[in-house]
């Protein structure tokens, strides 16, 4: 199990070794705490970003040679912790009840946050947030209420975000038309579901008159 406090302690120890305690604390707080990087799930990209940020932080207080040494040790501290510890999947799960338009925004914001934590690119974050927005909107519009579940997990060493949208609404009677893109809704452009399908890696929909609708989408990092 990866211990966050260990990484934290190590980074702080290195900073303390080079900087006075107050400045070390400030640098840590402004660079690590404020970076939003999840120490529990340090990816290669995160490490580089964190290092770059720390470099800027310590650059102000240390001479070039010292700053270099400090950086080397900071990097070692990060690598050591991630190599020695058994990697655990960044498992996260959220269920968001969808009852009104406001919940659409809540769902897509939560989804975006999870994408960010998983290390999705900005473009993929936007795509997934848009997809979630579409699914949530369909629930509000056609079923009135339902639920969006977001799951961030790993399979074969690759991370993914899975979104499950469920409602007990009237179901989609003309599913084939909707999915073939021939159907034009009044509010969107009839593109909500097909658009969502285009943007994700897997797309599964079960729906029928009277049995509600269940959409499952997945996107790999």
């Amino acid at each position: 199990m990866r211990d966050v406090s260990t990484i934290e302690t190590r980074l702080k120890a290195v900073l303390n070794q080079f900087l006075s305690p107050i400045i070390a604390d400030t640098v840590y707080a402004s660079r690590v705490s404020a970076s939003g990087i999840n120490l529990r799930n340090l990816r290669i990209g995160d490490r580089q970003r964190l290092l770059l940020s720390l470099q800027k932080g310590i650059g102000r207080y240390l001479r070039e040679e010292q700053a270099k040494q400090c950086l080397v040790q900071l990097e070692a501290a990060m690598h050591f912790s991630s190599v020695s510890a058994t990697p655990i999947p960044a498992y996260d799960e959220q269920a968001i009840p969808i009852r009104s338009e406001v919940d659409i925004v809540v769902a897509r914001s939560a989804g975006r946050q999870m994408c960010q934590t998983l290390g999705f690119s900005s473009l993929l974050q936007i795509k997934m947030a848009t997809a979630i927005s579409e699914l949530a909107r369909n629930i509000v519009q056609y079923a009135g209420e339902g639920q969006i579940s977001l799951t961030a997990s790993e399979e074969d060493g690759r991370s993914y975000l899975e979104v499950v949208a469920v409602d007990q609404g009237p179901g989609i009677s003309n599913l084939d038309d909707v999915l073939s893109g021939t159907y034009q809704s009044r509010t969107g452009m009839g593109k909500g579901l097909t658009g969502t399908r285009n943007m994700v890696d897997t797309f599964d929909i079960q729906s029928g008159p009277g049995s509600g609708t269940r959409v499952v989408i997945r996107k790999w990092v």
Binding site: E101, V105, G188, G192, N198
Partner: protein, 146 residues
């Protein structure tokens, strides 16, 4: 996320400028549609710019609504330009199949103003063109703050 009750509409040299810098909720979009049409009527606007540089996400409903606003304004005789769409939002919209073929677009608010300026120059009214040339339009109202 910032929320606002209404999106401000700026009246400027016969034009309306709307810069959306907040996350759009459905209520806001509906309110905006009403406000813009009312403003067009009251002010007798000849041009309308909807600047989207602050929008980081558009789903089918929002994009449809923005397009509707542009088309309604166009029907009312107003030259309408949509500007400043985030590249990643644009990529997402195209992938979703939500292009806005029938709407005039510009890279930035500045370009949009110039576009309207050229339109107005063609109609022998140089007020906006003067405004652009005087440098007032020089980035000051550019929505690309980040």
């Amino acid at each position: 996320m910032i929320t606002a009750a209404r999106i401000p509409i700026i009246r400027l040299y016969g034009n309306l400028i709307v810069s959306i810098q907040v996350s759009l909720s459905d209520d806001l979009v509906v309110g905006l549609k009403e406000d813009i049409t009312r403003n067009i009527e009251e002010y007798g606007a000849r041009g309308l710019i909807i600047d989207l540089s602050g929008i980081d996400l558009m789903d089918s409903y929002i994009s449809r609504s923005i397009r509707d606003i542009a088309l309604i304004s166009k029907l009312m005789g107003v030259k309408t330009v949509i500007s400043g769409m985030d590249p990643m939002v644009a990529m997402t919209l195209v992938e979703m199949g939500l292009e806005m073929d029938d709407v005039r677009t510009a890279l930035s608010l500045e370009d949009a103003i110039e576009l309207l300026g050229r339109i107005k120059k063609d109609s022998n009214d140089n007020a906006l063109r003067d405004f652009v040339l005087s440098g007032l339009g020089d980035g000051r109202f550019d929505g690309n703050s980040d």
